[in-house]
Symmetry: C2
């Protein structure tokens, strides 16, 4: 069973990856034994895995209380943070308590943020049940909720005590969510690992078929890659920004279409295709590489173009995005496959021209 370590000094933690880990009490005992624990999950995941997790936590010596939220991006709201706080106080879970996040990226972001601010911070454990959460959002300590003006505008850096990624849980994942998760797998490969990109080109069908070995390999490799970046730049002051490859466009797509219409991974997939095109036009990515990237995204069943929005609206949405530094647009561009760099020198005219071509019907 692979264990990936995120090296962050006293905030270091392990990521356990394997099939059937979700209810291994022995994994939880050292983390939450003797504690009172709030489980945060959603209406889709809790019926599938909630009881198994609660039994494992009880066997590990934890007293538990569960808070359920609705499924979907709109659950990342203040009202749900308040509900978690209310439930913890109601169950007399204090500063010595902990949270366990059981679900996808939304539940992880919400529960992680609630853990960050409840009584000024309590520990939490991530038990991601979607591919997106296993390969990306559960690792690295970024937690957040959304604001009417933009995604993830309110949040905290709060590292988990551990991540327990059960690849068997991916068997119940809807097809569309599996594909959305592959977007982040592809992202890690494109920005950091040319060899892993080649592996993905050879194995994308095995991942879509949910072969456990292939899934475990992909999850472990993504976690290794991300752990390396996070260890070098915990609070996103530099290097970590490359993890946002495809996200400047991606967030604009999500916000512009209303949260939930596009899955995060779908928006990131389209965003990566656009960012790759931009990299090509800036002269840092060859036409062959661009074509390989588009083909890989398409083979994963993901979009390579965003929805039709006026180009000016795209620009406006991107400028509100928190990756904009002092109002300037920041893009992560590829410098070949397996290497990425944040750039602040992309001419707005070039971006605008590209967006107009991509959304010809918008007429702006």
């Amino acid at each position: 069973m692979p264990v990936v370590r995120v090296a962050l000094g006293e905030r270091s933690y392990p990521i356990h990856i394997g099939a059937g880990l979700l209810d291994e009490a022995a994994l939880y005992a050292p983390l939450v034994g003797g504690r009172a624990v709030g489980i945060v999950s959603d209406a889709n995941v809790a019926p599938l895995y909630g009881a198994r997790l609660a039994r494992a936590l009880a066997a590990a010596g934890a007293r538990t209380a569960t808070v359920l939220v609705e499924a979907g991006e709109q659950a990342k709201c203040w009202q749900n943070v308040d509900r978690v706080v209310d439930a913890l106080l109601g169950a007399r879970i204090g500063r010595d308590g902990a949270l366990v996040a059981l679900g996808g990226g939304v539940v992880g972001d919400l529960a992680g943020f609630a853990a960050a601010v409840y009584q000024r911070g309590i520990p939490y454990v991530q038990v991601p049940t979607t591919l997106l959460a296993q390969v990306d959002s559960s690792v690295g300590g970024k937690t957040a909720i959304n604001h009417a003006r933009g995604k993830n505008m309110i949040g905290a850096f709060h590292q988990p005590l551990a991540v327990i990624a059960d690849v068997a849980a991916l068997e119940t994942l809807p097809e569309r969510e599996l594909r959305a998760g592959l977007a982040e797998v592809i992202k890690h490969a494109l920005i950091l690992d040319a060899d892993f990109t080649v592996w993905l080109e050879a194995n994308v069908e095995r991942l879509l078929a949910r072969e456990r070995d292939a899934l475990a390999h992909a999850v472990a490799r993504c976690c290794e890659l991300k752990a390396g970046v996070v260890a070098a730049d915990e609070r996103e002051s530099g290097l970590r920004a490359i993890l946002n490859f495809g996200h400047t466009f991606g967030h604009a797509i999500e916000t512009g279409t209303g949260y939930g219409a596009w899955l995060h991974g779908e928006a990131v997939a389209a965003g990566m295709a656009i960012a790759a095109e931009l990299s090509h036009r800036m002269g840092t990515l060859s036409a062959d590489e661009l074509a390989r990237i588009r083909r890989l995204i398409e083979r994963a069943g993901l979009p390579v173009a965003g929805p039709v929005l006026p180009a000016d609206r795209y620009l406006e949405l991107m400028q509100v995005d928190k990756k904009a530094v002092g109002g300037r647009l920041r893009f992560v561009l590829l410098e070949g496959i397996g290497r990425a760099r944040p750039r602040e020198d992309v001419p707005e005219s070039l971006v605008l021209a590209l967006l107009r071509e991509l959304a010809p019907r918008a007429g702006t």
Copy 2:
């Protein structure tokens, strides 16, 4: 002009104390020069000092936008965090921006928490304008908002870039607030400094008369004492708990009477008198010392008894307080004047008996 340094490694910061500092542009320039800055203040303080601060920040090279909240404890709510976030986004203040908190403890706690969670954390500067904020709440990085079930239940540890304590601003402070601030001055003396307690016994009238020299001395000494505690225990895992002397009862009083009926300092004053009485009954404080403490609190014009609430209600409120560890009650007791220790071994029966004597009319 005294400068007290809070030693927290890379999170270290200075506290500037003196008359007329509030609009010294030279103090702000190294902190926020070239940044976009949100000023958070309240309806009482902004008319007095808002324009002066904004001019100083402009002279220091900052672009500013102001967010006003209502005065009073009820401003420490999620809706106001959301308003701050909304204003920052509306003014296109990004992750490279900053906040300045101009006001008392409420504004400092609210703005500090908003800074902690806005885009996962931006820097902030505390400009405290009440005695309570200057001697206590602006120092140490504890930020929070309230929850219906209890005070400060949602918050973060987020250290400011600097604290700028202008004692001239205390001249416009309502008498009742000045006295409430003295409660925290007395607290610092009682738990940490027998000599400072003697100084207070000799100078409490000068403080009430708002003599600048006396105020500057008291503010500086409190900041030194608190900075020492915070440096030793930033996240309140041990020593820092002694700063909660009087607060277990105090918070129960505030919650039990509804936020705002009692000022925080008034509740802490009564809480300190009760905690001193408890210390005496536990055998760690002499009758003479108890009498000196009660006299000092009374000379500052502060209450030495809480409101009439059923003893059981007090107990219930104290158990919800986040200083309760795993449901057990924790009190900070004095071991003579100038020394304090958190205790978890105070018999509930003793607490109950004391509360019944203090609230004889409650009849429980």
